[in-house]
């Protein structure tokens, strides 16, 4: 189908974009990579009156270092995140999760920030961003503010951002030398996660010194598997102790039942995939 008519602007700075969004009124939307928004417009599930395209804003693209943090521009494509050497070195979990997003064509256009702003509970970048204690830098009419991931995701497709705000960049504390893996369970022709688990662990000698585990699609928002993290610390990085810790993975989750999986099966997947994610991470 063909989208309904809308006004289109492509500003070249964040300030211009914020102003354009305010001027365009409440039925305006920002356009990131368009890989979720354009299908929605095509199916006429939404009909915004104006699109503010962020694609021409250079300052929103790319990855840089800032002290102990990596700063990932919201308009950095999935393809560029996958290949970025800073991400590989300091936030490998994000690269491993991005590898599993959609397909090559969608990864060429879809963006890191668009995925996070979209906040689909099955989206693969939310749990890793939460696990790595990232912060979202958001711009609005009153300037910029920073929202920690733990407060950013509010509900299905709902974030702490106001519709008049733009996600500019994501600050990720460096996790240099951590082992990471993203383990995803999905149907072949549909890339979306039924359940997935992102794990990052710091190993000292042969023991686990620190662990961060995030769960995808185990609630309306991404979930930290705190009980697993606590059970792992101080344990030897062996399959047995990892499996024992992973048994806590479904604690504190509230998954839905749908055509792909019911609640119990999702809880089972969370435990199994957590074990696999951590085992693969430590043996990498």
């Amino acid at each position: 189908m063909i989208p309904a008519s809308f006004e289109y602007t492509a500003p070249s700075t964040v300030d211009e974009a914020v102003r354009a969004l305010a001027d365009a009124g409440e039925d305006a939307k920002v356009l990131g990579g368009g890989q979720s928004l354009l299908p929605v417009l095509r199916m006429r599930l939404a009909a915004p009156t104006a699109l503010i395209d962020l694609g021409k804003i250079d300052e929103m693209r790319g990855v840089r270092e800032d002290g102990d943090s990596l700063v990932i521009g919201a308009m950095t494509t999935h393809y560029d995140v996958q290949r970025d050497s800073l991400v590989a070195e300091h936030a490998a979990l994000l690269a491993r999760a991005t590898d599993t997003v959609a397909d090559p064509q969608v990864r060429h256009r879809g963006t890191f920030g668009g995925s996070i702003a979209h906040a689909d509970s099955a989206g693969d970048l939310l749990a890793p961003v939460l696990a790595l204690d990232a912060e979202m830098v958001v711009a609005g009419a009153n300037g910029r503010r920073t929202v920690p991931a733990s407060e950013f995701f509010v509900d299905y497709f709902t974030t702490a951002m106001d519709p008049s705000e733009i996600l500019v960049e994501v600050r990720v504390p460096k996790h240099s030398g951590w082992h990471a893996h993203y383990e995803k369970f999905n149907r072949v022709a549909q890339a979306w996660s039924i359940v997935a688990v992102g794990a990052a662990v710091r190993v000292e000698n042969t023991s686990i010194a620190e662990a961060k585990v995030g769960l995808t699609n185990m609630a309306a928002t991404p979930v930290r598997a705190r009980a697993v993290e606590e059970a792992l610390v101080g344990q030897p990085a062996t399959p047995d102790s990892i499996r024992a810790a992973a048994a806590h993975a479904a604690e504190g989750t509230s998954p839905t039942s749908d055509g792909n999986a019911d609640v119990e099966y999702r809880q089972h997947l969370a435990r199994t995939l957590t074990g696999r994610a951590i085992n693969t991470a430590v043996s990498a």
Binding site: S5, L38, M43, A102, P104, Q105, R109, A189, Q190
Partner: protein, 183 residues
Amino acid sequence: MRISVTVDGTTYTDDVEPRLLLVHYLRERLGKTGTVVGCDTSNCGACTVHLDGHSVKSCSVLAVQADGSEITTIEGLARDGQLHPLQEAFHDRHALQCGFCTPGMIMQSLDLLADNPAPDEQAVRHGLEGNLCRCTGYQNIVSAVQDAAQKMSPGAGPEVERVGDEMSGRHQARTPATSSGGE
């Protein structure tokens, strides 16, 4: 809104509505009906073209977003009546039945081979994840891509060398074959 794009080596300038999808611009304005639409959900990949050297689903890009870009469609692959080695391999290996998915399959295969010139079976299947075929069961598509990879490998003969343009051109604008321009 006025846009200017280079498609298969020819530059076009047109006034378009912002809501016009790139695939409809290619098909309905430029008559490039080799690129097809197979779904409403951005899943099937039949509409795959290259935008500045990277594969995209042209049903999920606005024509206005492509302003200033270089686009290659399935119609830009053959030169001087000679099929591209991937087109030839799809023909030789019976990699199509109804053929509806084929333009997208070939454009995505070209993108895959640019990243990985000698993919194993798993890599081909993974690289074609975003392209659905309702007919073939994929087996012959995989062998066609591997066949083409072999024929396109360095030293495979002068007739496939021009593929090097597409490969090396992925991070730079491709030189248009012609630049007569306009409709």
